[in-house]
Amino acid sequence: MTLAITNLARPPLLAPVTLALPPASVTGLIGPNGAGKTTLLRAIAGLSAGPGTVTIDGAPLAAATRVRTLAWLPADRDVAWPMRAADLVQLGLGPGAARDDAAITAALIAVDAEAFADRRVDTLSTGERARVLLARALVARPRWLLLDEPVANLDPFHRLGIMALLGRLAATGTGVVIALHDLDLARRHCDRLLLLDMGALVATGTPAAVLGPAHLAAVFRIRTGPDGWEAVETQSG
């Protein structure tokens, strides 16, 4: 179940990327604003046209098996209509799929949102809605999860809970690719990191290797100080 990316590019936002993502692990996608994290995730999910190929076990994504193969979660939390949370999660099973209340409940429990099952999503807070939308991505138990900032807007308890959940899913074989801004979460919960900067993949490896002082200063313009992260003075300033 390796996800192989070959010469995937979206000029001018993303320079060609070639890599193989192993299943059963959590891969973190990090980089400053505008580095190309969202562009790369969308390109892998087949949502934008451009050069390069993405294959899973040697085969390209097919519309008929998409729902069970790969789920993509966008960073925005918009829902066009004020539907019930449970009805929204059902949509993740694919258009026209039979109602599966057991799967919906399991997905809502996994993200600690079963209490909102019957609430309208427009009455939920942004963080609560984010968890319901994540349940939508989980409900079909896809083999690959491509998640764009799934823990943004979440409180610390739920951030840790969701990262632990993704770790458990990876332990049972799911390939998880997650765009993250929180470098502490990336260090603690990802098996591997991909560092993007200005549309190019500049480093891959273990969190310890990728989050070294050189990358932090060159790409993120930060360093570890006595009270946590601190900004590095810019050369020209």
Binding site: R42, A45, G46, L47, A63, A64, R66, V67, L70, A71, W72, P74, D76, D78, V79, A80, W81, P82, M83, R84, D87, L88, L91, G92, G94, P95, G96, R120, R136
Partner: protein, 317 residues
Amino acid sequence: MTVKRLSWLLAALLLPLVATSLLWDPALLLAVARRDPALARTILTELRLPRTALALLIGGGLGLGGAAMQGLLRNPLASPDVLGPSTGASLGAVLAGYFLGGGVLAVALGGVVGALAALALLVALAGPVAGTATLLLAGVAISALGGALVNLALSLAPSPYALYDVMFWLLGSLADRSLPQLAVAGPLIIAGAVLLLAQRHRLDTLALGEDVATSLGIAIPRLRWTIITATGIMVGAGVAVAGSIGFIGLVVPHLVRPLVGNRPGVALVPAGLAGAALLLAADMAVRLPVNGQELKLGVLTALLGAPFFLWLVVRSR
């Protein structure tokens, strides 16, 4: 309320409406009283039946088309009469009347082509994502252009009688429609309804946005053109037969969608049934003579629909 229960409820509401619309006609009752079965049969099959069936089909088509447009554009203000297809259909039907001789088939064809052209222009102008402001501006512009062209056609009318005919037709009515109109509009509206209903699951998924729908295996361009084509056919055929009947397509989806958990695809069937019931009830109301004249159907639906539209505006402030 489950969608099944709501649909049955609406169907149960339709039955007495249909029975009343079929049987409530002084001429029919008089024929029965005079024991004239031939006359009674003629009135029933050539007047009452086609008019009732047309009200059901056109009302159902407007309700269904409005619900599908709102679902596709993810916008509660989308509807055939606000965004241009109804005006496009009027223009197409008027032009067909002028240049193609005004036969039932030619006018229906003109209406369908006009509605499709207006819808295609709308989607091309507003773009696929259709923010409320862009969508409404594009729709208002298309409606205004269509309306101006209809007025131009009216002012170039070959005779006062032709002008009078077209103006009265534009007000919307089902009076004196018979089997030929039913034979042309019926299959078109049913075909459009079948096409639309086949998209209902995809419309539900579209609530999550076009990208997520694509990631779940939906081909968005095909879905968009299917819904535009089906809605254009239904609205065009309806307008060609009955003139412009406003507000059903706008109001009905708002009435039923909250009852089915705000799922845009699930709302299609109840919206069709509610549209049929509403237009049939309105058509019976206009047959009550006022000042010796039959009220125009489009006038009544606008009189009822406009205040509802205002209420929507006030509520969303």
